[in-house]
């Protein structure tokens, strides 16, 4: 089989050699063979992206108004000062907004690496890619983020060669994949999304998060929720979920790994970033209920 499109020279030579390599552990490897999947090669995809947190983390941040057209659509929520003060130091209004341009860049990086991995898989005639892992991390001390996806390409033993179009992919491998298939689901694709929400604090949020010597604050004694921040954090989570849902059609996103990071970037100001990854699966037959499981206790 000839190498497709722009699979690099080194990769196509490796993939064309007689033996396979697989990132599967012994357990996963044996479960894979047992279910009739044959590993054909380790496949990977990369994308290195320039990454600048302009208008977000930089000292220029205050100068570049987030309230202008840079909002870029998406989630946005305004907060107004109830005090009626006028002054340069008093933040009379605040805003939560979705940093759609950051999300776009992340999506570009991830999907470029993903597509390249699938290209490698197609070039070896694989039906699918199992045991996918993905990372995105800063390269050394450069302002570069590298997206890297890695998985094991497999063919279904005895099946006709795959139809045109991209192979399926899944984060699962081994016994878990076998169970999923037995339960009547087939993997469609790995799905990963990222949502980024910026909190531009108004006076009350700023005071509640950081304190400070404000005369007007003396009246605010009781325990209160910091609504602006709560809203932003919830919004980021829901956005990540809804982005994923938009890619699902009527399928199920299985085994989601969810993570959230909050980065403080000033008094009350922060960026909330949520990533969500899982395997999109589709039901292809009705579920045969499991035999009732037997409870066990380990002797060890």
């Amino acid at each position: 089989m000839s190498a497709a499109g722009d699979v690099p020279e080194a990769a196509s030579r490796r993939l064309e050699s007689g033996s396979f390599s697989s990132g599967l552990s012994a357990t996963d490897f044996s479960a894979c063979l047992q279910m009739g999947l044959r590993p054909v090669g380790l496949v990977q995809g990369f994308c290195a992206m320039q990454w600048g947190w302009y208008a977000a983390g930089s000292s220029l941040g205050r100068g570049l108004s987030p309230f202008g057209p840079s909002g870029g659509g998406g989630y946005q929520q305004n907060w107004y000062c109830p005090h009626g003060f006028v002054g340069g130091e008093h933040r009379t209004w605040g805003q939560n907004f979705e940093q759609t341009w950051v999300e776009d860049a992340w999506r570009t990086g991830f999907s470029a690496a993903f597509d390249r991995m699938l290209e490698e898989a197609e070039s070896v005639g694989a039906h699918g890619v199992i045991g996918v892992t993905d990372t995105s991390r800063h390269l050394a001390d450069t302002r570069v983020i590298e997206f890297h996806l890695l998985g094991t390409a497999v063919v279904v033993d005895g099946a006709p060669s795959p139809p045109a179009g991209t192979p399926w992919s899944t984060y699962l491998a081994g016994p878990r994949l076998a169970k999923l298939v037995e339960a009547g689901f087939m993997p469609v694709s790995v799905v990963a999304t990222m949502a980024s929400v910026r909190v531009w604090a108004y006076c009350i949020t700023e005071f509640l998060m950081e304190g400070g010597a404000y005369g007007w604050a003396a009246s605010m004694g009781s325990t209160a929720e910091i609504e602006q921040v709560s809203e932003a954090r919830l919004a980021a989570r829901v956005l990540a979920r809804e982005q994923a849902r938009r890619q699902l059609g009527s399928d199920t996103l299985q085994g989601i790994a969810f993570s959230a990071v909050e980065r403080e970037i000033g008094a009350g100001d922060q960026v909330v970033e949520c990533t969500l990854r899982g395997t999109r699966v589709r039901r292809f037959k009705d579920f045969d209920p499991l035999p009732p499981p037997r409870p066990t206790v380990r002797l060890s």
Partner: protein, 268 residues
């Protein structure tokens, strides 16, 4: 099995299903399915609550503001989780993971879990349950006739006065128990556990399982000892507890095999 796998080489589409998101593992989904339950949606509950300025720097005995903030944050987050669950037609949330962070000026609580329902059910209860139990624990409890109701939680922060200079000097070469922190820890624990029990009782629970505690001096205020506790409030639904008799196995694995593909990254 083979037939099932063969379909992996073709494309099958069933347009009648609706999109579902879930952070359950395959094992958990199958186990729930065996019980007649299915995942509906990944749901979230978040709350950030302010701690009164200066709350950590003075005071005697218990510090009211931080524990109020903690309880408000957990209960707000938990009721948002319930709302999200009800909105998607879930009967309850299982496997809730809680991130609780206590900062000098605010307490951050973030809950995430999967809303579940009996297969095909479209009549969600008014008050869905919230449970920190994994799907496996949920299944086992259900088999024994119990049901989770909600999260029970409590926190307490107690000021531990330093020894005065003369006492410290006198004791500098002795082995002595430091009574102030010991007493503070006891006071904090009692108050936090009491609050957790009270919140469980308020939910109509018969008990709290899976209690997790965090205790010790606060990193940003060493003179304050904090104690937080939370668990899942449960109630017996069946007439009486049904005993489960386990089989005994002697596994030859050294450890449970987790998602091994992670080993690819050299993190084995």
């Amino acid at each position: 099995m083979l037939q099932a796998v063969t379909s992996l080489s073709q494309g099958v589409h069933r347009p009648d299903d609706r999109a579902v998101t879930s952070d359950l593992t395959v094992d958990e989904s199958l186990l729930l399915h065996a019980l007649g339950w299915e995942p509906v949606d990944l749901v979230f509950g978040v709350s950030v609550t302010a701690v009164q300025a200066g709350a950590w720097t003075w005071g005697r005995g218990q510090l009211q503001s931080p524990s109020d903030a903690h309880n408000l944050a957990v209960s707000t987050a938990s009721s948002r989780l319930r709302q999200e669950c009800a909105a998607v037609g879930g009967h309850g949330v299982v496997g809730v993971r809680a991130g609780v962070e206590i900062h000098p000026r605010h307490v951050d609580v973030a809950l995430v879990g999967t809303a579940v329902r009996p297969i095909g059910s479209d009549r969600p209860p008014v008050q869905p349950f919230v449970s920190g139990l994994s799907a496996r624990d949920f299944a086992l409890l259900a088999a024994a006739g119990w049901s989770p109701i909600g999260l029970a939680f409590g926190a307490s922060f107690v000021y531990a006065p330093r020894r005065d200079a003369a006492t410290a000097l006198r004791q500098s070469r002795q082995n002595v128990e430091l009574t102030n922190p010991t007493q503070a820890l006891y006071a904090a624990r009692e108050a936090a556990m009491e609050r957790m029990q009270a919140s469980g009782l308020a939910l109509g629970a018969q008990g709290v399982v899976g209690v997790q505690i965090a205790e010790g001096p606060m990193t940003f205020a060493r003179h304050v000892i904090g104690f937080t506790a939370r668990g899942t409030a449960v109630r017996l639904l069946a007439g009486e507890h049904r005993t489960i008799t386990p089989d005994i196995v002697l596994p030859l694995n050294d450890a449970v095999v987790q998602f091994e593909a992670e080993a690819l990254r050299g993190r084995r």
